[in-house]
């Protein structure tokens, strides 16, 4: 990445971090529901990955945080309205923050049950290839999700059919309370790629350049018709699984470790502090404005609950 790109990653990752801190405050105060899974520690990898893709490349995101949407330029107030079940969001209370959507920006939503993203993303990739759009689909998911059957079925088929898809695994060391080393005997989930005949790459999720490079080369490969890549980014989960999880299962040392290895701090340290400070000031204005905008919006009308089950509605 160029320096400018790295600053761009910082701008978006830091916005996500600060935005989520504000969401947490609002949720704790009871103003909005506490349903977002916080992304702290994973934003740099998420944003750097998307920075290596085209803006119209379809993505199925994971449930961890807001950086995916921010990276694609979705307005903060729209995201906040989805979280708050207010008018002005993308799914009018139907899906809340799990199902933010913006087709024009390639934000194709998410399945509520883990693993669905991978098979659906494979279908999306099939369609891109069939229609020769030149687009590549990226699917984000966690280490825990990599143990679902869908992971297997999707990776295997995408590889043999050489579909343009990137399976991007964010290994944050936990699937809710379960440490990755208890849920699988293999240290690097990327080694599974060999069992499907596709490349598997492990990257340090705190290294924006490394993530960017890995995704850029996977995307190039996919666009060249050579098929999928499994990328495993080692990231840290700085916060709890969700608000309300007291993390009794997690050692203080592990939590401290995660904080000490905060990828955003690492990225910040590699950049000019004044630039970063200026960006963060701008970001805070955006956040304030989004909160204001959200507050002007009413809760979505209950009647929406009956709409859009079927196509003619």
């Amino acid at each position: 990445m160029h320096d400018g790109d790295r600053v761009g990653v910082y701008r978006r990752a830091s916005l996500a971090r600060r935005f989520e801190a504000r969401v947490e405050q609002l949720a704790k105060s009871g103003e909005i529901p506490a349903t977002l899974h916080m992304g702290a520690g994973q934003e740099v990898a998420q944003v750097a990955a998307l920075a290596a893709m085209r803006d119209d490349d379809p993505m199925l995101y994971g449930h961890r945080g807001s950086a995916y949407w921010i990276a694609r330029g979705m307005p903060l107030d729209s995201i906040l309205c989805d979280i708050a079940y207010r008018d002005g969001g993308s799914n009018r209370g139907k899906g809340g923050p799990m199902h933010v959507v913006d087709v024009g920006r390639g934000v194709l939503g998410e399945t509520g049950t883990l693993g669905g993203n991978l098979v659906i993303g494979t279908g999306v990739a099939y369609a891109e290839k069939y229609q020769r759009t030149g687009r590549v689909c990226i699917v984000f998911f966690g280490d825990g999700t990599a143990n679902r059957g869908q992971f297997h079925e999707a990776c295997n088929y995408a590889a043999v059919a050489k579909l343009p898809v990137i399976f991007f695994c964010e290994n944050n060391g936990f699937g809710l309370s379960m440490p990755s080393n208890a849920s699988s005997a293999v240290a690097d989930l990327a080694t599974r790629a060999a069992g499907y005949g596709m490349p598997g790459v492990v990257v340090d999720g705190a290294d924006a350049d490394a993530v960017h490079a890995a995704v850029a080369s996977a995307a190039a490969r996919a666009r060249a018709g050579e098929g999928p890549t499994l990328i495993e980014a080692k990231v840290v989960r700085i916060g709890a699984h969700f608000l309300g999880d007291r993390e009794a299962y997690r050692s203080t040392a592990d939590k401290d470790d995660a904080k000490a290895n905060d990828p955003l701090a690492t990225l910040w340290a590699s950049l000019d502090p004044e630039t970063c400070a200026a960006i963060d000031a701008e970001n805070d204005l955006l956040i304030t404005a989004a909160v204001e905008a959200m507050r002007t919006r009413p809760m979505v009308a209950a009647s929406t609950a009956l709409e859009r089950v079927y196509a003619d509605e």
Binding site: K94, Y126, Y157
Partner: protein, 325 residues
Amino acid sequence: MSERTLKYAHAIREAMSAEMRRDPAVVLFGEDVGAYGGVWGVSRGMHVEFGDRVFDTPISEDLIVGMAVGMAMRGMRPIAELQYADFVFCAGAEVFLSAATYRYVHDGAFTLPMVVRMACGGGGFGPEHSQSTEAYLMHTPGLRVAVPSTPADAYGLTIAAIRSDDPVFVLEHKLLYGMSGIVPDDHVTELGRAVVRRAGTHCTIVAWHDMLRRALAAADLLDHDGIDVEIIDPVTLNPFDFETVATSVRKTGACMVVEEAPRTLGVGAEIGARLMEEAFGYLDRPLVRLAIPDVPVPTAEHLVDSLVPSVDDIVAAARGLVGKR
């Protein structure tokens, strides 16, 4: 030529082929649907005409249905085949959760014009390859369910399913694949319109698939006894044309549902409950449900035959129902 005589399986093949010629967004895939022509021979030869638009997948049912969802989201019109209707459970999360809710939960950002075809019913294959799983699907908002019972509807419903912008699950009946019938050209069956297959006055019988065929055979026998039954084919179960059933029952005052699925919470339960809600005054006798008693479908054909409603069972039940007047 304005009509042809085709077998049910052939009619489905013709329907898929016609749509594939018309619309390049349509593709067909599943296990062994290509060179093999599908375990039921439905797609035999299609890969020759359509090349890799008819393609085999690995044995990965979650993938098959999940992929259809993803393709449908991006402007294609996938037709996915599951070899057996029981396999909706092998793709359980993608059928009952993803396909059913992906549009709704994203507030209409996507339509899902996808078809899942599968073979149901019959005997000889055991409890994981013989089920008629329509009731499970019908209980799931977001999924359309079609149950073609004639070659004409096999054709017309397949066309309609492909053109529909909703996920449509088409249950094809194994014992009907070889049934011949007249198929009008350009026939598109309307989703949500039941058909009176035989007009009558003494009681209403609702049946589809092989049970419809048996009900029609029973009607002929009953006719000799002076019992004149009206037979309704629902054609689709979601949407369900209850009005046609209610109209008939208001006339006959009696209703029997015949189905090839476990009795408890079979489709007959819904028909019964709705009759009770909406045609209450008109019923002068209890509902009769003929169905598989609540056991899994065994493997041996003669065991299956002992469980599934037969022509004789229908005749006897109709006599009882009409006699009770």
